[in-house]
């Protein structure tokens, strides 16, 4: 780094650190975005200068669902192996959030002394990040439709990834979910070393392809893909009967792997982190140990005990995510451990302002089982309406008997807790901003 760069970097870092101190001192929040924004304005090459200093390299984690959980597992594995790791753990995954996270670990003159940086990156921001940062790994988890009001469509995003990854140096390692046709195809177009993870457990196939898919057509020729089976959404075992496109062979056998938390989606998160760790050279028994002892990130199958009741919070922010959390809840319900579910639907900027996605969710199983359903959030009536339309029989008063509508979140949580027997689990399915609110009510403290 040149002297002028170093001086300017030092100044920008000092300014940003001062902002962090003020924001935290005045208890305005956790300062997860603003310091980065200020530093970026003061030094446009901030991200680049910070990334260069990471000793063993930067790992970028992209995908619609699972970024936070996967990053946290990978970080845990690396730390257990003795590495010092930075991670934008608050989930702030736009440019300013990445810079803020890196800045937090620098000294006052902007020196960064870390082995790895794990950066969760918003799928739309990846091209911008790649302009500033030469990662050692890019980990692509999946691409589902999500927040179409902000982002546009899956195909467009994948094409932009391809265009920005292609020119990167050949020693960049690309790790992708091979069960996702869009990503598998992307990998087959890249000149870099590409490793794929995926499931090889046909006993987990779904009975039918769910409605919430948009990538069951061949990314190469547009023909309908032929699926031997689907694990979730459009992730599965497929090939194209027309042009011969087929899924890339996984670099590890999922049958040999334990998993973190609950749900099929967490099998993918486990394999993703596991494959990167393996490629870095970490021993399998150490990785398995970290998987066994893993504790959830906030709101992602996170477990709490409040008023003596066991609670599990399952972030549900898009059709695929919610289909999978419903699947996990139903499984637990069938084993008799749960009877109460609270769904909280918000429509703020972090959630996406369009709530029509709830009609792509298969809510029918929730209404079919026993137990109590409580709905809350900014769009409580939209959610209630969706649930109501999951019934093919209409009972006498026109409302499902087990549906409780409570717009006030605190009251909704209190009701849900009161209706949960002491030995059972209360499941809460919130959108992103709703998840933060729920945690605040349950734990009495802010996290962002």
């Amino acid at each position: 780094m040149q002297l002028a760069d170093r001086v300017r970097l030092g100044l920008a870092v000092a300014a940003a650190k001062a902002v962090t101190a003020v924001v935290r001192g005045l208890r305005l929040g956790a300062a997860s975005v603003l310091p980065g924004e200020i530093a970026r304005r003061l030094h446009p090459r901030m991200l680049s200068l910070l990334c260069q200093q990471v000793k063993h390299g930067v790992i970028l984690v992209v995908g619609t669902n699972g970024k936070t959980t996967t990053s946290l597992l990978l970080r845990t594995i690396l730390e257990k192996s003795g590495y010092r790791v930075i991670h934008n753990e608050t989930g702030a995954n736009l440019l300013n959030g990445l810079i803020t996270a890196l800045l937090a670990e620098t000294n006052v003159i902007g020196q960064l002394n870390r082995d790895f940086a794990i950066l969760e990156v918003d799928e739309n921001v990846l091209p911008l990040v790649l302009k500033a940062c030469r990662p050692r790994f890019i980990l692509g988890l999946n691409l589902f439709r999500d927040q179409l009001d902000r982002y546009g469509e899956v195909d467009t995003i994948s094409k932009r990834w391809q265009d920005t990854i292609q020119p990167l140096p050949n020693d960049t390692v690309i790790v992708l979910n091979g069960d996702d046709p869009t990503l598998s195809f992307l990998g087959q177009q890249l000149p870099q070393k590409v490793l794929c993870f995926g499931l090889s457990e046909p006993e987990l196939y779904l009975d039918a392809i769910p409605h919430a898919v948009d990538s069951i057509y061949c990314p190469s020729c547009g023909h309908l893909l032929d699926y031997a089976g689907v694990y979730l959404s459009h992730l599965g075992d497929y090939h194209c009967p027309n042009c011969g496109f087929h899924k890339s062979k996984p670099a590890l056998d999922s049958q040999d792997w334990p998993q973190i938390l609950i749900g099929v989606y967490n099998k993918y998160n486990t394999l993703a982190a596991g494959l990167v760790a393996t490629e870095i050279g970490i021993a399998t028994d150490l990785i398995f140990e970290a998987i066994k002892n893993f504790r959830a990130a906030f709101g992602r199958a996170e477990e709490l005990t409040v008023q003596g009741k066991h609670i599990r919070i399952l972030l549900s922010k898009n059709p695929v995510g919610m289909n999978e959390t419903i699947r996990a809840v139903k499984q637990i319900q069938q084993s008799g451990q749960s009877s109460t579910t609270l769904i909280v639907l918000n429509d703020r900027i972090p959630d996406g302002t369009d709530v029509s996605w709830i009609w792509d969710v298969d809510t029918e199983p929730l209404m079919a089982g026993g137990g109590t359903l409580i709905v809350s959030g900014d769009r409580v009536f939209d959610m209630a309406l969706r649930l109501n339309y999951s019934h093919c029989e209409l009972d006498t008063n026109g409302k499902p008997e087990k549906l409780i509508i409570e717009a006030d979140l605190e009251k909704a949580i209190a009701t849900a807790l009161a209706l949960t027997p002491a030995d059972k689990t209360l499941h809460i399915l919130p959108t992103y901003s709703a998840m933060l609110e729920v945690r605040q009510v349950l734990t009495g403290r802010k996290i962002l």
């Binding site: 195909d155 009609w359 009536f381 309406l385």
Partner: protein, 264 residues
């Protein structure tokens, strides 16, 4: 009594929750004891199957998926679809679907895509630098005779609430607009028109999805489908729409449209 809902390309044209329109029609039939079948009209469906359809539903698509549909909708299939709409089979077509039913769609990139020419309208994407039309949309249905029929059912002016999310802009020629925009962009953000109405076909940019929060349109579709099929007037059992009303009220209140909507 039984109705068959023909669902245009369910896996290709249902990006934005438009499946809700099919669910809404299906349930409102079931709740009334009217038999209902859902017939997916996809690439594997023979053109003749269209004959059995009593009400048609088409949703929005991503650009690539829309192109696949345009490639498939040719020859006998198009003719049958045109006949159905001309003969008065009711239908609801959202977002990409009206673009498909017009003369052509000019995407931001690439060649003009020919439409079916059933509706006298054209759609154009003004380029990537233009803003997408995104947000809650509220409009009053003005198309004749639909507006009068809905008013009679409702006892008040039919005001629709939904969510629009489109890059393309639609310009109507001789086809009548479905309604007049109260809040949002509508067809093109300029002339205050929203959607189009032809025979018994409703075309709109309004997702949300359209029908669950505007159940009077769902009931109009069901009633029209029954009338066309059985050639007699059939009155529908009233359903409890308290939840839909509450959802509408909540949004009107947030958009500060309580009075505007009622006096619209």
């Amino acid at each position: 009594m039984e109705l068959t809902i023909g669902w245009l390309y369910p896996t290709l044209m249902s990006t934005y929750g438009d499946r809700g329109n099919v669910i809404c029609l299906q349930r409102r039939c079931q709740w009334r004891g009217i038999g209902v079948k859902i017939l997916p009209l996809d690439r594997e469906t023979e053109a003749d199957r269209l004959e059995t359809v009593d009400v048609i539903v088409g949703g929005g698509a991503q650009d690539r998926q829309q192109e696949i549909v345009m490639r498939d909708l040719k020859g006998a299939k198009v003719e049958r679809l045109r006949q159905k709409i001309e003969q008065g089979t009711p239908g609801v077509f959202t977002c990409g679907s009206p673009q498909l039913l017009g003369h052509y769609y000019e995407p931001a990139l690439g060649e003009k895509i020919e439409g079916l020419g059933i509706l006298d309208l054209v759609s154009k994407h003004p380029g990537f630098n233009a803003r997408r039309c995104i947000g809650n949309v509220v409009f009053e249905i003005t198309a004749s005779p639909l507006a009068a029929e809905l008013s009679a059912m409702l006892g008040e002016k039919p005001v629709v609430i939904g969510f629009e999310n489109h890059g393309g802009r639609t310009y109507l020629n001789s086809t009548a607009p479905l309604g007049r925009v109260i809040q949002g962009y509508g067809n093109n953000g300029q002339d205050k028109t929203e959607g189009a109405f032809y025979r018994h076909a409703i075309a709109t940019y309004s997702h949300g999805p359209l029908l669950p929060k505007n159940p009077f349109i769902a009931d109009w579709l069901i009633q029209t489908a029954l009338r066309e099929k059985y050639q007699q007037e059939i009155s529908l059992t009233k359903l409890d729409d308290t939840l839909a009303r509450s959802a509408r009220e909540a949004l009107f209140k947030r958009l500060e449209l309580t009075t505007a909507a009622k006096s619209a």
